[in-house]
Amino acid sequence: MLAAEALVAQNIGFGVVALLMIVAALRVVTTNNVVHAALWLVTVLAGAAAQYVLLAAEFVAVTQVLVYIGAVMVLFLFGTMLTRARIGAERDLNNSYWRLGIPVAVLLFAAMTIAVLSSYSDERLPSDSRVVPVAEISDQIFGPYLLPFWALSFVLLAAIIGAIVLARKE
């Protein structure tokens, strides 16, 4: 009984957050103001963090908040500020052929919807899910997935050096 109620509450939470995320994501790709787009993106990212919590992935959710909302958004805002003289609405943020995007997106969505519904039409997620402890994740990173971790470290190093070299004035 209690579990059923909790599930209902979780579903309501999912619905509200998902709706918010979809609206915000649509605004990101349709708004005429780059700064507004960045702020709507914050909404999507925060919503994603909330979904991670629903998916019992609290560590990932915290990382999402720290890295995305904390760091990546600041980068975006700086990028916007440094590359544009004024902050405000702009006319021509879209390509001349932007309408092409709609059929492509719809086609892609149709493909994925068919795939998802045919495979997992009414399968339920385990309701007694436990929160994955951070220790377990770290065992994964430094155990079986050490090689990707190394690769990732090199990617990050390269990115840091590359970003500095690219953005430096001569």
Binding site: E58, L100, G101, P103, L108, A110, A111
Partner: protein, 778 residues
């Protein structure tokens, strides 16, 4: 224990008590509504602010009413358990974080005061800020500011408390710097923000110390986390804590109070905070921001009680700081020409009284003083705003632009006089009941020296308020009050005061649409301004009756309703898992001579409040302090009349002729040189070298590493280019180039070079491929 449980009776509750947490939620929602839709509304968002605070006020009133019933339903010595509700919002790794409400007597008192004064200030601002360029933002920030304070007041745990505390800090920054176009205003806002932040470090440290020290005890004995205010209070009184740890915690928390409540030596931000619009000053100085520090001490009183050994034989840090604050702030108020600055220093001094009361075990009088002070100080600030709004052409300079206003502004004048008398502590106005109680109890608890400081402070208060009253309302009209409308002249006098004159911008920025009023000379303000002032003035008279000790025990309502009772609560009421609790006896040499909980040490159970004494009221003592107050008023009146009215040659220019008078005046005019100390001593000597060192590190170390990496990469690239690229790859490429050329000609049309088109093609192809896969698989 058994004796206690026999007399327990069931406590009444109620919807308002259970849902008092809505009080901060409503203004928070209001804030977001104002931010999002405010500009599109007919009243530019101000109506949302007023309505949301009226909602909070209704909730707060209902909660107060039901709390009174709850106390009445309890038996005489019973501990009235607070109404606590919590929700878990986060759990990870075994730790659980909750958010919730903790409603008890202290909460409902402050909750009501905050909601009430916030509502009145919002109504007042409707008129005062009419036509302001950031009208909507002002109301948004004001509403969030009240929400922050309300959240802090109802907080069940220290995390929510900290949240409300910081929201207030942020909003005070936005409000003080409301007219940020003027550099002085934004400087004042920054100063307020950073000074308070300096103290806030103490709050963080204090919360952390308390959590790590108390968490284990509270979870095992009460089932509460170490952030919970109840848990920490019970822990502090259990005899369990290490005296050094709790001392550090109490001192760290008190540092936060020094910053927030403007105690010496961090009081310097408060007078500069006058740069904000007057309603902000009123709200900031009466019931919200600065009271937060006092509220923190009152809220976590057991921690301070045990940690600082309150009621012990020697004086403690709170009392010493408070006593210094009372005297130096009152002395500073004498040299101010800006009416709001006089009131600002008066606030600092009155906060000193509250702290003095808390530091010397007079918990109830201090809380009572929060209550009464909020009304009369808000009233005084709103009167000052009314004067500048309607009489002195947006100037706050008492010497240049005021004088003789009593005939023109009857309502403002009457309210000002009532509030001034309340502030001075004249019978039967409210300040008499609260301030006298503090002084009385300080003496009653055996701190004779601090009682004398308190009486001296009362003398100074009466004197500087009389001076301000004389300059503003009596004598001959001067400057703008005399009908002179010379903006440049008025502004010039402001600038002559240098940096501490942030308000001089009002006549520039605060350009109201009804300039014609200013031409018409001084007059009474509109109803939106005078009605809140009049309501507050009535409360400045009447609010003292809530705890009128002189009239006997039956008048001590606040003592009955608000003061937590120092009764031992058994484990069945503590809400814990129910183990029997056994506490170490506080030994004679390290603790108090009696148990913190009362006269007997609890063997089982906990208590949430220390037992405090109440001084017996004697008319002889009250008459003494009244005589001191009247002496202050009379002396100051005669001096003011001689100096400003008749311009007695013996007094005028005394500071120029007499070396000692000049030195004293200079010390006061420069605010004891504390600002210079902070700016030159701290900022240039500490911050400067750090930034220089960081720059050096950046230039030499980081850049060096970077250059090394870049040149190494360049060398590798050169080797690769010479040996591999030129010799091996080029040969292959040349051979395949011909094939590529012919192939390229066929697909040339789609190679437009437009990245978006490439993306569209790529994803479309992927989608088609995926569809094919899906159809094949199903």
């Amino acid at each position: 224990m058994s004796a206690v449980s026999e007399t327990l009776s069931p406590l009444s509750g109620g919807w308002f008590l259970d849902n008092a947490w809505l009080a901060p939620v409503i203004p928070t929602v209001g804030f977001f509504l104002i931010i999002m839709f405010g500009k599109k509304l007919p009243k530019k968002g101000s109506e949302i602010g007023v309505i949301s605070l009226v909602g909070s006020l209704v909730l707060a009133s209902g909660a107060s009413w039901q709390w009174i019933h709850r106390v009445n339903s309890a038996s005489e010595e019973q501990f009235v358990t607070p109404v606590v509700r919590t929700w878990t919002w986060w759990q990870a790794g075994g730790a659980e974080f909750t958010i919730g409400q903790h409603i008890d007597g202290l909460t409902v008192v402050v909750l009501f005061v905050v909601a009430f004064i916030s509502t009145l200030v919002q109504i007042y601002s409707l008129e005062y800020l009419r036509g302001d360029r950031r009208y909507t933002h002002f109301f948004a920030a004001l509403t969030l500011f009240s929400a922050g304070m309300l959240a802090m007041v109802v907080a069940e745990d220290m995390i929510l408390f900290l949240l409300g505390w910081e929201i207030m800090g942020l909003c005070s920054f936005m409000l003080i710097g409301h007219w940020w176009e003027d550099g002085a205003n934004s400087r004042a806002a920054l100063k307020a923000f950073f000074t308070v932040r300096t103290g806030d470090v103490g709050l963080l440290v204090g919360i952390a110390i308390l959590f790590f020290a108390a968490n284990e005890w509270t979870t095992t004995n009460l089932g509460l986390s170490g952030f919970s205010i109840r848990g920490v209070s019970a822990w502090a009184l259990s005899g369990n804590p290490n005296s050094t740890v709790i001392l550090f915690a109490a001192v760290a928390l008190f540092v936060a109070c020094i910053g927030k409540s403007g105690q010496f030596p961090l009081h310097t931000w408060l007078p500069d905070a006058m740069a904000g619009p007057t309603p902000v000053s009123s709200l900031l100085h009466s019931s919200t921001m600065v009271v937060a520090g006092v509220f923190l001490v009152a809220r976590l009183y057991p921690v301070f009680f045990t940690g600082l050994d309150i009621l012990g034989p020697s004086s403690n840090v709170i009392m010493v700081i408070a006593a210094i604050t009372i005297v130096i702030a009152a002395a500073l108020a004498f040299v101010q020409t800006d009416i709001k600055r006089v009131l600002a220093y008066s606030t600092v001094s009155q906060l000193g009284y509250m702290m003095l009361g808390l530091g010397s075990g007079a918990w109830l009088p201090a809380v009572f003083h929060i209550f009464t002070h909020a009304f009369f100080k808000a009233c005084l600030f709103l009167c000052a705003g009314s004067i500048s709004h309607s009489a002195s052409h947006h100037s706050f300079d008492m010497k240049k632009d005021m004088g003789g206003l009593r005939k023109h502004m009857p309502v403002t004048f009457a309210s000002w006089i009532v509030s001034t008398l309340a502030l001075c502590g004249v019978f039967p106005f409210s300040g008499f009941f609260s301030k006298d109680e503090i002084i009385d109890n300080v003496g009653g608890n055996g701190y004779a020296f601090f009682m004398i400081v308190g009486l001296f402070g009362a003398f100074l208060t009466a004197a500087y308020m009389t001076r301000a009253t004389y300059l503003t309302f009596f004598g001959s009209p001067r400057g703008a009050a005399a009908g002179e409308h010379d903006e440049h002249d008025a502004h010039g006098t402001h600038d002559a005061h240098g940096t501490h004159d942030a308000h001089g911008t009002h006549d520039k920025n605060d350009v109201h649409p009804h300039e014609d009023h200013a031409h018409a000379g001084p007059h009474e303000s509109g109803l939106l301004i005078t009605v809140p002032i009049a309501i507050l003035a009535v409360l400045a008279i009447g609010s003292g009756l809530f705890n009128a000790t002189p009239f006997g025990e039956s008048w001590e309502y606040l003592k009955k309703w608000a003061e937590p009772r120092a009764a031992v609560v058994g484990e069945d009421h503590a809400g814990g898992p129910g183990e029997s609790l056994i506490f170490a006896m506080p030994s004679e040499e390290e603790g108090h001579s009696t148990s913190p909980c009362g006269t007997e040490t609890p063997e089982t159970g906990v208590c949430y409040a220390p037992a405090l004494n109440h001084a017996e009221f004697k008319w002889s003592k009250a008459l003494l302090s009244l005589a001191i107050v009247f002496a202050g008023i009379a002396m100051s009146w005669l001096l003011s009349a001689a100096l400003y009215g008749k311009r007695d040659p013996r007094l005028v220019g005394l500071t120029q002729r007499n070396r000692f008078a000049r030195a004293g005046y200079r010390l006061l005019a420069n605010k004891y040189y504390l600002d210079d100390l902070y700016e030159q001593g701290v900022v240039s000597n500490v911050a400067g070298p750090i930034s220089r060192a960081a720059y050096w590190f950046n230039q030499n170390v980081l850049d060096g590493i970077l250059h090394g990496v870049v040149s190494a990469a360049r060398w590798i690239a050169f080797v690769v280019y010479r040996d591999i690229d030129q010799r091996i790859v080029d040969g292959t490429v040349n051979a395949s180039a011909d094939i590529t050329k012919s192939a390229g000609a066929t697909v040339q049309p789609i190679q437009s070079g437009r990245v978006g088109l490439y993306g569209a093609l790529f994803f479309a192809t992927a989608a088609v491929a995926a569809l094919v896969f899906v159809i094949l698989n199903t």
